[in-house]
Symmetry: C2
Subunit: 258 residues, 2 copies
């Protein structure tokens, strides 16, 4: 590419996570990178924003030659502050979020700070991609994820996508040689089935601690992202922020005469 692109990078695991370093390394091949990421882990923050409290940005010197800030807020706050304060409302060409330590397939998109940050940028009309590797450990190997991120970012920057402004990309935890390729998918109907662990704290109070399993309720859905991942493919799901269930509007019309 002749033109240098402006790319905003964020995540939800925090600015010191190896996953964001892996993404910055790829992003800087494509243009000028600005990093604004949480100063602490924000997994499970979904689309939360900070309303009551003030936010702070702390300039970092983590990524060589890359302007970067740690933010005291949520992933969505990072995107809002980047755009409004640091970029003076000038939109970047692309927003990248991740690489998340852990998968965000199926319904995880709703809980995911990684995907909510990407979605927030897409609300502003910025093409956005969230990347997640199906390995939640800090020492995960991001090399195959970087290869696929490179291909997908190049594709998005080279061809203006009309409908697909927000992509949820998940990468199986496999070496490059074992990944079968890319599948464009729908969001699988896969969700967490909770099983809270009950316990008693040192002061005798009862507590409940979130546990559970990720269950694919529709494993025969061959077009879903969970199945693609289970069979060794990188999944790409085009997502959106319009949650209207248009098919349901005719069914509800009778309510206008209640």
């Amino acid at each position: 590419m002749s033109e240098r692109k402006k790319i905003l990078v964020t995540n939800d695991d925090g600015i010191t996570a190896p996953g964001i370093a892996a993404l910055v390394e790829v992003a800087k091949e494509f243009g000028e990178v600005l990093v604004v990421a949480p100063d602490s882990p924000q997994s499970g923050q979904g689309h939360a924003i900070t309303i009551v409290d003030p936010l702070r940005l702390k300039k970092q010197d983590i990524f060589s030659g890359i302007e970067s800030y740690a933010c005291t807020g949520t992933p969505v706050d990072c995107v809002k502050l980047a755009k409004n304060v640091l970029l003076n409302d000038v939109k970047p060409d692309l927003c990248l979020s991740g690489i998340n330590h852990g998968g965000n397939a199926g319904i995880n998109i709703l809980y995911s700070g990684t995907m909510s940050a990407a979605m927030e940028a897409s609300i502003e009309g910025i093409p956005s991609i969230g990347f997640s590797l199906l390995n939640h450990t800090w020492k995960a190997d991001f090399s195959a994820s970087q290869e696929y991120a490179r291909k997908i970012i190049a594709a998005v920057l080279n061809k203006e996508l009309v409908e697909a402004k927000l992509l949820n990309v998940n990468i199986p935890d496999l070496p490059m040689s074992e990944i079968q390729g890319i599948k464009v998918c729908s969001q699988a109907n896969a969700r967490w089935v909770e099983d809270y662990k009950e316990g008693t704290d040192p002061r005798g109070g009862k507590y409940y601690w979130l546990a559970g399993n990720f269950v694919d309720s529709d494993p025969e859905n061959h077009g879903g992202d969970v199945r693609a991942l289970n069979t060794g493919y990188v999944s790409i799901v085009p997502s959106m922020y319009d949650l209207t269930r248009f098919e349901a509007i005719p069914e509800l019309k009778y309510m206008e005469s209640l």
Copy 2:
């Protein structure tokens, strides 16, 4: 109705908010009510969940004759705990969230703890309705909202809806006599345009505080919820948790050969 229904009620303004009291008053006309709501305000929490910390439930005696609990977590945590711990995985017939002090039309559905709680219940297959009044003050008049909540709850309990399992209901801040009726709508492309207020804290640190205006980017969209509310109607938007942008899948298919 002959059969007593089981109804779960939650909100995001906290269990002491007048809006949830107004909703409980209506809900108990339809069946047995269980209240599980946050012990502190949780506006803007979106679909956040508590992963790292344990959660607690405190039995309350706020609503006469109604089993109720304050929860230390987010609105989504309230729904998960209610279902898994208090209801032993037996689904209620209906989940109601609100009445929120403040509107949740347009894109606010993403940031809204009220709607995220309702959405969480819908993921479990529970028909769910979030109610929001366009008045954020504590002394808001919920009487017209109660009238409309009564009509809409009765309709949902009397007729099994196939597609519409999650409804986002907003009520204009008007007396009953001035409300024009109900409109079934799509989610307007209306969003917050941020304008962070910069300041300096007592220790000389710079901060940014979220401010801004809610702007309808598509005011000519006559089917959107923001316009319905602006013209005096109660808006009902059928929503969903499948964020797949199916229209974009063909456009992305070429990525499978990257």
